[in-house]
Amino acid sequence: MTIDDDVLCEELLATALTAIDPCAALRIAARDARLSQASRDRLAAIDEDGFRISALLVARLRFERLLHGHPDVPDWLDRDAVGFTETFRRYHAAVPPTAFFPPDEARTFAAWIAATRLD
């Protein structure tokens, strides 16, 4: 396995984990001809229940960063949990997670909300 293969494998897994349907994206990644056969075999052998739960946990950790970083989110969640959850789901699908700290996540979310309203 070369380093390039590892990098590509990481990128494909990252894309799949943040996709709306992670397991469908994983199945596509496992057929990517740019990967070595060994990497394709490893991806094809992944436990899909575990992959789906990993994707949920990645989203939940992001949700928690936003909850801790954005002053309006706790009230929004109390007021309209279903509405906020749907908004977060669309945000997570539209914007790749790049913020490691709660205030950065809050800024990214606020920018997405502003852009969405402009649309």
Binding site: V7, D49, R52, S54, L57, L61, T98, A99, F100
Partner: protein
């Protein structure tokens, strides 16, 4: 006597409810350094309010501190993450000057997959290249904190046979002053989810490399998540009896063990948990006396 420590989390309720336990029952503290930072408008990593709180606690109690992060992504292959990791190293260096970490560990695997803030430790293929990358990350940390290591992470999916992981970990920590943090709830959880015997995993592990043991609890995934239920390493419940049994069995076989740490997640401690956590710290200490 091997000391018993408690992980400290940036949570006012945790720190308030466990005020006496933190001061009276823990021999040392474990911190996740990156939970004590924020990125300022200049882009620099700066200490947040909990950094000061923990510094004052350590100054007042004079208890030792070890560091245990999740975000350094020691197995990451992506160049997209290189600049972030460089900035984190500088912040870790500054924190080490303050807290004088006894050792610094992170989770084996990759937590910034493709440079994204996935923040959950995820499996890497257990290849020579992954060993070299992880060793390289540990060597970078070692230039700041001389004793470093990796924890056996919980992975909910694997890129290979999970029973090959002990040998992989052994290769990762084969260098001087590189250690293993043995998280027994992670072993228990992975064994349940992947369907293997935790004793088979422990039998393959280089136990002479273990510097620290983690004890914690977790729960099953909610039914609403769909699919088959899996145990989560959620650190939000008492340490389950099977994990205590693994602890009693394995710690005497770890000749270089320097600490046993109890972990609880932020936002999960309520009034009834205080007595539980106190009792767990005492139970660990009692086990180590036997």
């Amino acid at each position: 006597m091997i000391p018993v420590g408690l992980s400290l989390v940036p949570d006012v309720v945790f720190l308030d409810l466990l005020h006496d336990v933190i001061r009276d029952e823990a021999d040392y503290y474990e911190l996740a350094p990156e939970t004590l930072w924020f990125r300022s408008s200049s882009g620099a990593l700066e200490p947040n309010g909990f950094h000061r709180t923990f510094r004052e606690l350590v100054d007042a109690t004079r208890k030792p501190v070890v560091a245990h992060g999740v975000g350094f992504s020691v197995g990451g292959a992506s160049e997209a993450d290189a600049a972030r990791r460089t900035s984190w190293l500088e912040r870790i260096r500054l924190d080490h000057e303050v807290f004088h970490f006894g050792w610094y560990t992170d989770h084996v695997g990759v937590s910034a997959l493709g440079g994204l803030a996935t923040t959950l430790p995820l499996a890497t293929p257990m290849t020579d290249a992954a060993v070299m990358r992880t060793r390289g990350a540990l060597e970078a940390l070692q230039r700041i904190v001389p004793d470093v290591g990796v924890e056996n992470s919980v992975f909910y999916f694997h890129l290979g046979d999970p029973l090959d992981e002990p040998a992989f970990l052994g290769r990762v920590v084969a260098g001087p002053r590189c250690h293993l943090l043995l998280d027994l709830h992670n072993v228990y959880t992975t064994a349940l989810n992947a369907g293997f015997d935790p004793h088979a995993y422990l039998a393959r592990l280089p136990l002479d490399a273990v510097i620290e043991i983690h004890l914690s609890g977790g729960r099953d995934s909610p039914a609403a998540w769909g699919g088959r239920s899996m145990r989560l390493d959620s650190h939000d419940t008492a340490v389950p009896e099977p994990v205590w049994a693994l602890f009693d069995e394995v710690w005497p076989r770890c000749p270089n063990l320097r600490g046993v740490t109890l972990e609880r997640m932020e936002d999960t401690v309520t009034v009834p948990d205080v007595a539980v956590i106190r009792a767990e710290l005492r139970r660990a200490r009692e086990a180590l006396r036997r």
